[in-house]
Symmetry: C2
Subunit: 553 residues, 2 copies
C-alpha cells in the first residue's frame, strides 16, 4: 500500500494496486460527493459550538476519577481531604479531620462529609471554590501542595449534583467564637459558574474550620481501593494528621497523630530559566514590571544572579538596559538560546518538603510488621526546570505474604495514589528494576514477589500527573531515574540483610549439626582416654566453645 518515490527506498511491503489505477482513483474523490453526503463548509460551520469546561468534564468524568461508583466515592473523599489538609497546613494548624460517609435511603447513594479545623473560607469565595472548575490558589504559584489544579472539589460536587440532584453543602467559620455560614452551591455546567442556592448564618463548632458535604451515587467497599485504605496510607505519609472516620456500616476508625510537629512549610519559588519555553518567555517579557532585560532576568527567575543576567544579555547580543516590552520575537529567541547555554545553579530546594526518613519509618512500623525497614530520601533533582524529590522505603519479612507480588504504596505530595497503578512511572520503575540481582524473586517485567512492601513518594511544586484525576505520575525520564536510584539504594540494604540472614541460617544449621555430634565425640574420647563423666562434660563444653570461636573468627 505504501510506496516511496523520489529519493526514497521501497519499503518492505506489498503493493496491492498499480500506481496508475490508484492515481485515477485519487482524482475521482476530488469533487464528487458520495453516499449522498454534500455538506459544505457553511453546513459544517453551523455545527460549531463552544464547549464549557464543565460540560467537557461532565462528559469525560472518568478523567477526573468518576468512572464508576466505587471510585467516585474514593475520589470525593480524597479531594475533600486533600483540600482540608492543605488549608490547615497553610494556616499552620495541626489538621484534625472528621470523615463521615453515611448511607442514605437509596442504597446506591451516599453522603460524604469532611470537616477540618483549618482557617475556614471567606464568604465571597465559597461559591467559586465549590461551584467553578479551574478556580483555586495553587495553580498559579510554584509551591508544593496536595491540590494544584483547581478542579478536584468542584468536580466532586458536580458529580454529586449530576447523579443525585443535590447541591454541595458547606459550613465555614473564619473566626473562633463568631457565627458560621452555611451554603448550598451547585455548578452551572453550561457556563462553569456557581449558583448559590442557600446562604444562612448558623451556630457551629466554636472554632474555625470548614465542613463540606456531597451526596453522590457511589458504592461502598473495603479493601485495596477503599476509603479505609486511603486514610490508612494518608496517615503513614502524614503522621501529623488526626482523622476520625465514620464508615457507612456504623464503624468508627480513629487515626491518631503520631507527631505534633507540622512538616516544614515548602517555599514558593520562581520558575527556573532552564525549564522555560519561548512562548512563556515572550509572555513574561510583556508582563514584567522590571524596566530592563537585566532586571527582568534577575528578578523574575530563580537562580539568575546579576552576573548571570549580564552574561545572558551579552551572549544574546541584547543590551542589558533594553526595555523588556520592546524585545521582538527574534531577540527573545536569542535570549532563550543564551539562557540555555548559560550555566546556572539548580533550583532552590526549600520548595520541597519531604516526609523524612524518620517519619516514613515510624509510619511504616506502626502499620506493617516486618523484620527489616529501610528508607532513602534522595537529594532533589530537576525535570523541565521543576525540582522534585524521591523518597523510597521498604519493609521486608515478618508476616508479610511470601508468595505474592510486593505491595506498592505510591504517594505524590503526601497523597496516596490508589488507582491507575499500571500507567504510573512509579510502578513502571519498580517493575523495570532487576530485583533478582538483590535476591528477590521477580517475573520478568513485573513487580517483585516476596514478603515486601514498597513505598515511593514524589514531592514537587508541580507533579506531572497523567490525568486530572491525579492518580498516576507521567514518565519523565528524570523522574524514573531518581526512583530507580532510590529503589536500588533500598534494595542493596535488603540484599545485605538477606545474605546476612541466609548466612545466619546456615550457621545455625551447622552449629546444630556440630552440637549434635560433639557429645558423641566426647563419649568416644572418654572411652579412649579413660576419664570421668565430669571431665567429659568439660571437654564437650570446651570443644563447643572452640568450634564456635573458630567459626566467628
Amino acid at each position: 500500500m505504501a510506496k516511496r518515490t523520489k529519493t526514497g527506498k521501497r519499503p518492505p511491503q506489498r503493493e496491492p494496486k498499480p500506481e496508475r489505477q490508484a492515481a485515477s482513483k485519487k482524482d475521482s474523490g476530488k469533487s464528487v460527493a458520495q453516499n449522498g453526503r454534500t455538506l459544505t463548509a457553511a453546513d459544517l460551520a453551523k455545527q460549531l459550538r463552544e464547549i464549557s469546561i464543565s460540560e467537557f468534564f461532565t462528559k469525560n468524568r472518568h478523567l477526573l476519577g468518576f468512572d464508576n461508583p466505587k471510585r467516585a466515592l474514593l475520589t470525593t473523599v480524597k479531594e475533600a481531604v486533600d483540600n482540608a489538609l492543605d488549608a490547615c497546613e497553610d494556616a499552620g494548624v495541626l489538621p484534625t479531620l472528621i470523615v463521615d460517609v453515611q448511607p442514605t435511603d437509596r442504597e446506591d447513594r451516599f453522603r460524604v462529609r469532611v470537616e477540618d479545623n483549618g482557617p475556614g473560607i471567606v464568604r465571597n469565595q465559597v461559591g467559586r471554590i465549590f461551584g467553578k472548575l479551574l478556580y483555586g490558589s495553587k495553580f498559579h504559584r510554584l509551591k508544593m501542595s496536595r491540590g494544584q489544579q483547581g478542579i478536584g472539589i468542584s468536580a466532586a460536587g458536580m458529580y454529586g449534583h449530576l447523579t443525585t440532584g443535590q447541591p454541595v453543602a458547606i459550613i465555614s467559620q473564619t473566626k473562633a467564637g463568631a457565627a458560621a455560614h452555611y451554603f448550598e452551591v451547585v455548578i452551572d455546567t453550561k457556563t462553569n459558574e456557581p449558583k448559590i442556592l442557600k446562604e444562612e448564618k448558623i451556630t457551629w463548632n466554636g472554632h474555625t474550620g470548614t465542613s463540606v458535604q456531597i451526596e453522590l451515587e457511589a458504592e461502598f467497599h473495603r479493601g485495596r481501593w477503599g476509603v479505609d485504605e486511603y486514610l490508612r496510607q494518608t496517615v503513614v505519609a502524614n503522621p501529623h494528621v488526626s482523622i476520625t472516620y465514620h464508615s457507612p456500616d456504623k464503624q468508627t476508625l480513629e487515626f491518631e497523630r503520631a507527631t505534633d510537629v507540622l512538616p516544614r512549610e515548602p517555599k514558593e519559588i520562581k520558575p527556573h530559566p532552564h525549564g522555560i519555553e519561548l512562548g512563556m518567555l515572550i509572555q513574561m517579557l510583556q508582563e514584567t514590571r522590571a524596566r530592563t532585560v537585566h532586571g527582568f532576568l534577575h528578578s523574575e527567575f530563580s537562580r539568575v544572579s546579576a552576573r548571570n543576567a549580564a552574561e545572558i544579555c551579552e551572549k544574546a547580543g541584547i543590551s542589558e538596559d533594553s526595555r523588556p516590552g520592546n524585545i521582538a520575537r527574534r531577540e527573545a529567541d536569542a535570549l532563550l538560546m543564551a539562557i540555555r547555554e548559560t550555566k546556572l545553579r539548580n533550583p532552590p530546594l526549600d520548595c520541597i518538603s519531604p516526609i523524612g526518613e524518620e517519619q516514613i519509618l515510624a509510619g511504616l512500623k506502626s502499620s506493617i510488621e516486618a523484620d527489616l525497614y529501610e528508607c532513602v530520601t534522595r537529594s532533589p533533582a530537576i525535570y523541565r526546570g521543576i525540582p522534585f524529590l524521591i523518597e523510597a522505603a521498604i519493609a521486608y519479612g515478618g508476616n508479610l505474604p511470601a508468595d505474592k507480588p510486593a505491595r506498592l504504596m505510591r504517594f505524590a505530595n503526601r497523597v496516596p495514589l490508589l488507582y491507575q497503578t499500571g500507567g504510573c512511572v512509579i510502578t513502571q520503575s519498580v517493575a523495570a528494576l532487576n530485583w533478582r540481582q538483590y535476591n528477590v524473586d521477580q517475573p520478568t517485567g513485573s513487580l517483585p514477589v516476596g514478603p515486601l512492601v514498597l513505598l515511593i513518594h514524589i514531592a514537587s511544586p508541580w507533579v506531572p500527573f497523567t490525568s486530572e484525576s491525579k492518580e498516576a505520575v507521567a514518565d519523565y525520564p528524570e523522574i524514573e531515574k531518581e526512583i530507580t536510584l532510590a529503589l536500588q539504594e533500598c534494595a542493596r540494604k535488603l540484599r545485605v540483610f538477606l545474605s546476612r540472614r541466609r548466612r545466619h541460617a546456615e550457621e545455625q544449621r551447622k552449629r546444630q549439626h556440630i552440637e549434635k555430634y560433639i557429645p558423641f565425640i566426647g563419649e568416644a574420647l572418654q572411652g579412649i582416654l579413660e576419664f570421668g563423666d565430669g571431665e567429659r562434660t568439660r571437654l564437650v563444653r570446651q570443644l563447643t566453645e572452640l568450634l564456635e570461636k573458630s567459626r566467628k573468627g
Copy 2:
C-alpha cells in the same frame, strides 16, 4: 495507628501511641499556629484566581500528548490528519491528504503542514477552530468521528506557538475556482480566545480544501512511534484514504487508496435513556421544547416508543401531560427510577460504522506477510447508554518474528493509538486473555509471544479515552468483555490453524519416515517372493498409497 471504636473491631495493626496522649495532641493543634505560619482565611482568599483552560493545558501539556518533542511531532500530525479526514468524510469526499514535515534552520524545530481536499472552513470560524480550546462541532452531538473534544488542533497550535513563537498558518478555500483565504492565528492563553494576526486573499489550488501549518519544537524519528508508522496504520484502518507524506529527510511515501468507496456515514443519535443520570435528566427537562413529559421522553431520547413513554410516566406516578419545566427534583428522581426499570430496545446501531472484515483483512494483507489472517466484527454493545463496537483481527506466521511479543495495533474510530499502551483497556484485555489455551506462548499477565499481529478497533459515537491526548481507552467492563470475546473468536481460529499445522507437520514427518522404509520392505519382499524390479516398484507404490489412505481414514 488506626483503631476502631464503637461497634468496630480492632484492625490487625500496631498502636504506637496510647489514646490519651494522642487526644491531648489533637487539642494542641486546634488554635496554635506553628512554624510561624498564621495565614487566615482572608490571606488564603487573596491567592485565589481563575485558571483559563489554555493556561491549564499549557502547564499540563502532557495531558494533550505534548510531553516530549518526539511525541509532540506525532500528536501534531495526528490532530491535523484526524481533522482533515473528518472534514472530507462529512462532506462526502474521498480524502486525499498531503502530510509535509519539513526541517527548519534550527534542528530542534520542524514545520508540519497537512493539506486536504475537504470542503474548507468558512472565514469567521477559522480563528476559533485553530485558536480556542474547547470549540468544535463534534462534542455536542453523539456521532462517531475521529475528533470529539474540540481541543486537539488548537492545542497543537498552542504548543507550536509556545515553543517557537510562530502562529498557526491556515489556508482555506470553500468554493472551487474562487479565491482562498490565508490566516495566521495564535491563541491568547490568558483568555482562551483567538488572535488573528493576518488575513488575506490568495490564489490557491483551484479546488476546495484546507491547509494547516504549525511550526513546533520537535524531534523526528522513524519506527514504532514515528509519523511513518502512524500513517501506515492509518491507511490499514482507512483504505479509502490517499496520503502523500514528505518526511524531513527528503523522502516521499505515497499511500494510495485501496478502495474508492467511502465508509458508510455513521448516523447521529439521541442519548439512550438507560445511560442518563439525574442531573442530566433535570437539565434536559428544563431545556426541552416538548410540551409534555410524554412528548419529552418520546422525542428527546432514542428507543422510547409512545408506549414506553406512557409506561414510564405511569411507573413514576407522573401525569403524561405534565409540563417538563414543572417537574421537581423528587419527581425527576422517580422518573429516572421508572426509566431504569423499563425494558427498552438497545440503542440504534447505525450510529457506528465499522471498518468491516473485508477491509481490515485487505489492509492487513497489504502490509503484513503472514500465513493466517482472521477477522471478527462483533455486534454493537452498550456502555453507559452509549453504543460501541469491537473489531479484532490477527495475522499469524509468515516472516513475523517468533520469539517476540505480539505486535498490537490499537484503533479508536479508525485512528491508530500509538502511545500509552499499558494504560489502555485494549492492551489489558489482550494480556488478560489466557493465550496458552490457544497454543500460543505467554508470560503470565503479558502480551502473547509468537509470530503474531493483533489489531483491535473500537468504534463508538463517544470513545471514553483516559486522557485528552486520546491515546488509550478507559477500562469500562463492558468494553473489556467485548474485546475479550472478539479476541477469543480469533484465537479459536488460530488454535484450529495451529493444530492443523501441527498435525500436518507430524503427518509429514511420519510419511517421510514410512516412505524411507517402504523401499527396503519392497526389496525384502522381492528377495522372499522372487519377483522382478518392475513388480517391486509397483509394490512399493501400492504400499505407499495404502499407508497413506489408512492414515487419512
